[in-house]
């Protein structure tokens, strides 16, 4: 066995790489950590001249969740996000599959139209949408918000799932057909399991998209606020220490999701299907 000795150049490269990594992580990590620390600090700690708070309390979070109504908004957000995932997958998954596996007239035009849909500014759609919702009785309902979020997420879901499905080799599906499966059987027992890591990632992104969406949610709801809409209208008008607490409440689930998704994507069968 030989022992590898590092040359100066290699060592320098390693040092530069390490510092670059530290810099990038700090860029996102430092503000995140500080804001989370202040979410758990005493109210007065915010106004003391220390780099991090020295006295801690759960008071702000407790107050926001249980007295100001954030818990109710969290529940609403979860319902809306889950509904959005369900609806956009119900509609988008078959479309994504069709784009990936079949060649049909107008395929490219449709794909382009999907991307084109993303060009409409939400602000312009919002007002007519409210008018429409009031007329059909969807205004201030969670289903209404979920439908609007579905419309926003759908192009994304179709495009992502189509590339996920395109990553499932045709041979594996044909083997399923040869060995006794119907086309639906192939889809359920071969394609879906193989596409699952990619689909799961798409689902989580869709969830977060809905979870973070503030504008439509704020316009369409009044009493049934989702979390971002609630924070926008209530907590941001409150003193600073509430802003940090609100920030934590909205960031925490996203962080958990990202960590879960990461592990899930890497360890699933040890293979990478896009």
């Amino acid at each position: 066995m030989t022992i590898h000795t590092y040359t100066l150049g290699e060592r320098l490269k390693g040092v530069v790489k390490a510092w670059a990594a530290v810099l990038i992580v700090s860029w996102i990590g430092v503000p995140l950590v500080i804001s989370i620390l202040y979410a758990f600090s005493e109210r007065t700690a915010l106004y003391e001249r220390t780099p991090i708070p020295l006295s801690y309390s759960l008071e702000q979070i407790r107050f926001l969740l249980f007295e100001a109504g954030a818990l109710y908004a969290v529940k609403n957000s979860v319902i809306v996000a889950l509904l959005t995932v369900a609806l956009s997958f119900l509609l988008g998954l078959p479309a994504g599959y069709a784009f990936a596996k079949y060649v049909f007239p107008g395929r490219d035009a449709l794909k382009l139209a999907l991307i084109g849909m993303r060009m409409f500014p939400v602000m312009i759609i919002a007002v007519p949408l409210v008018a429409l919702y009031i007329r059909i009785g969807l205004s201030d309902t969670l289903v209404g918000v979920a439908l609007a979020h579905t419309a926003m997420a759908l192009p994304f879901v179709v495009l992502i799932t189509s590339s996920v499905f395109a990553g499932v080799p045709r041979d594996l599906e044909e083997a399923g057909m040869v060995f006794g499966l119907s086309p639906i059987g192939v889809f359920l027992r071969i394609t879906i399991p193989l596409a699952l890591p990619g689909l799961a990632a798409a689902a989580m992104f869709t969830f977060l998209l809905s979870w973070n969406e503030v504008f439509i949610a704020a316009v369409l709801t009044l009493t049934n606020r989702t979390l971002p809409a609630f924070i926008l209208t209530s907590a941001l008008a409150a003193p600073d220490f509430f802003k940090f607490a609100a920030n934590f409440i909205i960031v925490a689930p996203a962080l958990v999701f990202v960590f879960v998704a990461r592990r899930y994507l890497v360890t699933m069968w040890g293979i990478t299907v896009r």
Binding site: D171, A175, M177, V273
Partner: protein
């Protein structure tokens, strides 16, 4: 087990015609190899037998049962894919057992059959692994095990060895043939490798540009090629194919004239192509039967260890000869006599490329 019959199969993809009328009868229990260069339609033919592709015209029969419009799952076939197509989300055991599970075979029977197939392919110790933990050769064995475990009527193989390294390929081709003999299944095997085809096939169908050029046993296709395409595709090194003219019973090749001792009357005159296999050209030793004698200069010698490939310039034409031994005096630049037995000379029509049948009595 079943025989397969293809009747007038035409397949068009948009404007290109992949198959231009395939008629082929595959006998019950034989290994039929579809051989041809890439793009000749051999894989499309296989996929039509599988039901993965529908023919534009024509019909497919398994024995007397028409299957043209049946989906693959109702044909009782199985297939080994070029990429093996072993499902990565299932362990080896589940891969092999999957076709049986779908057919709702009893658990006990599944276990017995999987064990049988795994033993046959010597992969018993791999049953508990995932495909990504296997080598290419092992994955290939899993694919074959999965294909035979269902006891199909027809076993289809689409270039199953092309992703293996050279040594393993040579080993597996004889194993596949032995396996087919043990199981007795009708097999259709697609390859572009003529050596592989010769070793595995009971009969070979040589294909080119969507058509079948010739069907016959490996020996027939080798000894008696139906046209210049088959003649050139089978055999290594390639058969010498030389443009020639027949004038008054003399065959003229560029810069040289050959006289046959026994002029066939079907060779009347005009342009032809003559074909001679390199291994049928003798350097130094005179054959006893009727033969053609030519004189040329040694242009180049390739030493392959066991054989020599000798390029001989006769007139303006280079003939390639293959021999196991060389006379001592022979070297690059030396003048030498070469001999070809007349029965080993093939004559082809220069326009159509088809073989000109000779009416002389065969020796």
């Amino acid at each position: 087990m079943a025989g397969v019959r293809l009747e007038g199969i035409v397949k068009r993809f948009g404007r290109t015609t992949a198959l231009k009328g395939i008629n082929l009868e595959i006998r019950d229990g034989e290994i039929m190899v579809l051989l041809g260069p890439s793009g000749c339609g051999k894989t499309t033919t296989l996929r039509i037998i599988a039901g993965l592709e529908k023919p534009t015209e024509g019909r497919v029969f398994f024995d007397d049962r028409e299957v043209t419009n049946l989906p693959p799952k109702d044909r009782n076939i199985s297939m080994v894919f070029q990429s093996y197509a072993v499902w990565p989300h299932m362990k080896v055991y589940d891969n092999i057992a999957f076709p049986l599970k779908i057919k709702k075979v009893r658990d006990e029977e599944i276990r017995r059959r999987v064990k049988w197939a795994a033993e046959l392919l010597q992969i018993e110790e791999l049953l508990d692994r995932y495909p990504h933990q296997l080598s290419g050769g092992q994955r290939q064995r899993v694919a074959v095990a999965r294909a035979i475990v269902v006891e199909p009527e027809v076993l289809l193989m689409d270039e199953p060895l092309s992703n293996l390294d050279a040594l393993l390929r040579v080993k597996m081709r004889s194993e596949i043939k032995k396996l087919q003999r043990k199981v007795g299944v009708t097999m259709v095997y697609v390859t572009h490798d003529q050596t592989e085809a010769m070793v595995i096939a009971d009969r070979i169908a040589v294909m080119s540009e969507g058509q079948i050029m010739q069907v016959g046993s490996p020996q027939e296709v080798y000894d008696d090629p139906a046209n210049t395409f088959v003649a050139g595709f089978i055999g290594s090194p390639q058969m010498n194919l030389i443009k020639a003219r027949v004038v008054d019973g003399v065959i003229e090749i560029p810069g040289y004239e050959i006289k046959l001792s026994n002029q066939p009357s079907t060779l009347t005159g005009g342009n032809i192509v003559i074909g001679v296999r390199p291994e049928k050209i003798q350097i130094g030793d005179k054959p006893s039967g009727p033969h053609v004698e030519m004189e040329g200069i040694i242009d180049f010698i390739e030493n392959l260890g066991a054989d020599y490939i000798v390029h001989v310039k006769v007139g303006d034409t280079i003939l390639v000869a293959k021999t196991t031994s060389l006379p001592e005096h022979v070297n690059i630049g030396t003048r030498t006599k070469i001999y070809i037995e007349e029965k080993h000379i093939h004559f082809f029509d220069s326009k159509t490329g088809t073989k000109i049948k000779l009416n002389t009595t065969k020796k």
